[in-house]
């Protein structure tokens, strides 16, 4: 598995391993994409979801399952996942653009409206983007969730941004 060799999966590889949201669900707006593929003992995604859309159950090494119709794309699980393996993707953001929300625990924290370089799972630049939202409430416990607007074609590739320097 390339994941164990280079540390990341492509979207196609992820899809082969795990359920991702359906096209129909993507078309309705923001939804959680759970990129957790190893059975490790962990369940904060399940207990943090205000819509009870994520199920891990017993034993806690089960992989999380998403009830996509119940998910509102709020981003709580994105901040809570200790593995930082959950993203919120909104493919219905506009006719031409999508947004990707991801956890971001680096300084400096980007500001809303900032132009950024969006990167893929390998940290490679994919396209330019604009920061549309930075959520950092107390409940996220110092794990801000940054949302960037990018061309729709890259919604399944972009999972972060190039870091700024302090």
């Amino acid at each position: 598995m390339p994941l164990l060799k280079c540390g990341y999966l492509t979207y196609e590889e992820l899809r082969a391993l795990r359920a991702v949201p359906s096209d129909a669900r993507y078309a309705k707006g923001p939804v959680a994409v759970i990129e957790c593929v190893q059975e490790i003992p962990c369940n904060p995604c399940e207990t943090s979801c205000p819509s009870r859309a994520i199920c891990v159950g017993d034993p806690i090494v089960n992989l999380p399952c998403l009830a996509e119709e119940q998910c509102t794309g709020c981003g709580m699980c994105v901040a809570k996942c200790p593995g930082m393996a959950i993203f919120v993707v909104d493919k219905a953001y506009s006719d031409t653009t999508a947004t990707v929300g991801f956890p971001y625990e680096y300084f400096p924290l980007p500001e809303e409206g900032a132009a950024v370089t969006a990167v893929d799972r390998a940290g490679q630049p994919v396209c330019g983007g604009t920061v549309v939202r930075v959520m950092n409430p107390k409940a996220f416990d110092h794990t801000p969730v940054v949302t960037v607007e990018i061309p729709k074609a890259f919604a399944d590739e972009v999972r972060g941004i190039e870091r700024g320097t302090c």
Binding site: C6, Y8, I40, Y106, R121
Partner: protein
């Protein structure tokens, strides 16, 4: 000689949870740690923990540490910091170099009715040409520098080892503002959780599996300035011609840990060699060693992680308190059974299975050594 009902050696997650349980049941507990601050590695763990939400997962280690210190204080646990347990002697005598104000350096002997050893583990080292060059350090040391002392160990770091320590410390070095030039792993695949690897891959860190550090080249001042890595074949032999040079001023080594067990060897506790954990003391389901009244918990029993250390500490604390009469046998058993069930859940999945098997092997070996029936 000072008298205490229970002495706990080590105030990390295992020792503190043992102390909290035992003191909560009513025992008088003294917990001794050689560091100036209690909490063991918890205060370096600025990341959110895995595990079950019922047990504080999703909470950062540093916050779990704070909660435990508050709880220990509430329960009246006595803490000696900056104090080193230098020996355990027959008759349950604990030799301590007492380091607190006013008595710095004084040697005291404490007689304890029960002893719980939760001494943790120490980092392994990898020897390569130049491994003693200033700038080469353990990954744990680099983590202490950035997360406890708020000092960057260097500007650009090469991490050796892709277990969870190597992966997490790489991430935290970047959070502190260092650059991670490469993560190097001798095995053909990443050792730690894929989600930790994905985090650093996303940040653009190149990961070299089937590679190791061949040598470190110092600059004129004698400090690390270049790191030469080399590819390895399936038999972990260097492949000539695959050397590559990386500019870096720091090397961090995250090559695993080994249990700290010297105190138990002094007491002549029975040990075994287990392929997963190395040489470790035998213990039973009360976490009691072959020496009656001497218990162990956490990494000392075989290196795992904070969640399992916390749970084992609880069992040791309950067992010691019950042996002193603070808990009825039935109550102690019910609580221990619950904890063993939680431990079994933590030891499932591809990462936990071999630790579960190792734990069962140790428990069986204990029974066999006592001439009893092997655990089923």
């Amino acid at each position: 000689m000072l008298e205490r009902e229970i002495v706990v050696v080590g105030a990390g997650p295992a020792g503190l949870s043992a102390a909290i349980e035992a003191a909560g049941a009513g025992a008088r507990v003294l917990c001794i740690d050689l560091n100036m601050r209690p909490g063991g590695q918890l205060f370096k763990q600025i990341h959110k923990f895995f595990g079950s939400s019922a047990h504080r997962s999703g909470t950062r280690g540093i916050d779990i540490g704070r909660m435990m210190l508050d709880e220990a204080e509430d329960k009246g646990v006595e803490l000696w910091l900056g104090s080193t347990v230098i020996g355990l002697f027959p008759g349950n005598k604990v030799g301590v170099r007492h380091g607190q104000d006013g008595t710095a350096g004084a040697f005291v002997t404490v007689h304890a009715q029960k002893i719980i050893v939760a001494a943790g583990a120490s980092e392994n080292v990898v020897r390569f040409d130049g491994w003693t060059t200033p700038g080469v350090m353990g990954a744990g040391a680099a983590q202490t520098m950035v997360n406890v002392n708020h000092v960057k160990p260097g500007r650009r770091v090469v991490m050796l080892g892709s277990g969870n320590v190597g992966l997490i410390v790489s991430y935290q070095l970047m959070q502190a503002g260092c650059e991670v030039a490469a993560l190097v792993e001798a095995a053909p695949k990443i050792g730690g959780y894929a989600v930790h690897a994905a985090k650093i891959a996303r940040a653009g860190v190149p990961i070299y599996t089937s590679h190791t550090i061949k040598r470190v080249v110092p600059d004129e001042s004698g400090r690390v300035c270049r790191v030469v890595i080399v590819g390895l074949d399936d038999a972990f032999q260097e492949i000539p011609g695959t050397e590559r040079e990386i500019e870096a001023d720091t090397v961090a080594i995250g090559a695993g840990l080994k249990p700290t067990t010297e105190l138990l060897a002094l007491l002549k506790c029975d040990f075994t060699f287990h392929p997963v954990w190395g040489r470790v003391p035998l213990h039973n389901r009360d976490m009691e060693t072959s020496q009656e009244g001497v218990y162990i918990a956490g990494d000392t029993t075989g290196v795992e992680e904070a969640n399992t250390a916390l749970e084992e500490g609880r069992i040791a604390g309950i067992s010691a308190a019950a042996a002193l009469g603070y808990l009825s046998e039935d109550e102690a058993k019910a609580r221990k059974d619950e904890i063993w069930a939680r431990l079994a859940a933590l030891r499932m999945g591809p990462f936990g299975e071999k630790r579960e098997q190792a734990k069962q092997d140790i428990l069986s070996a204990f029974d066999e050594s006592r001439g009893g029936l092997a655990a089923v």
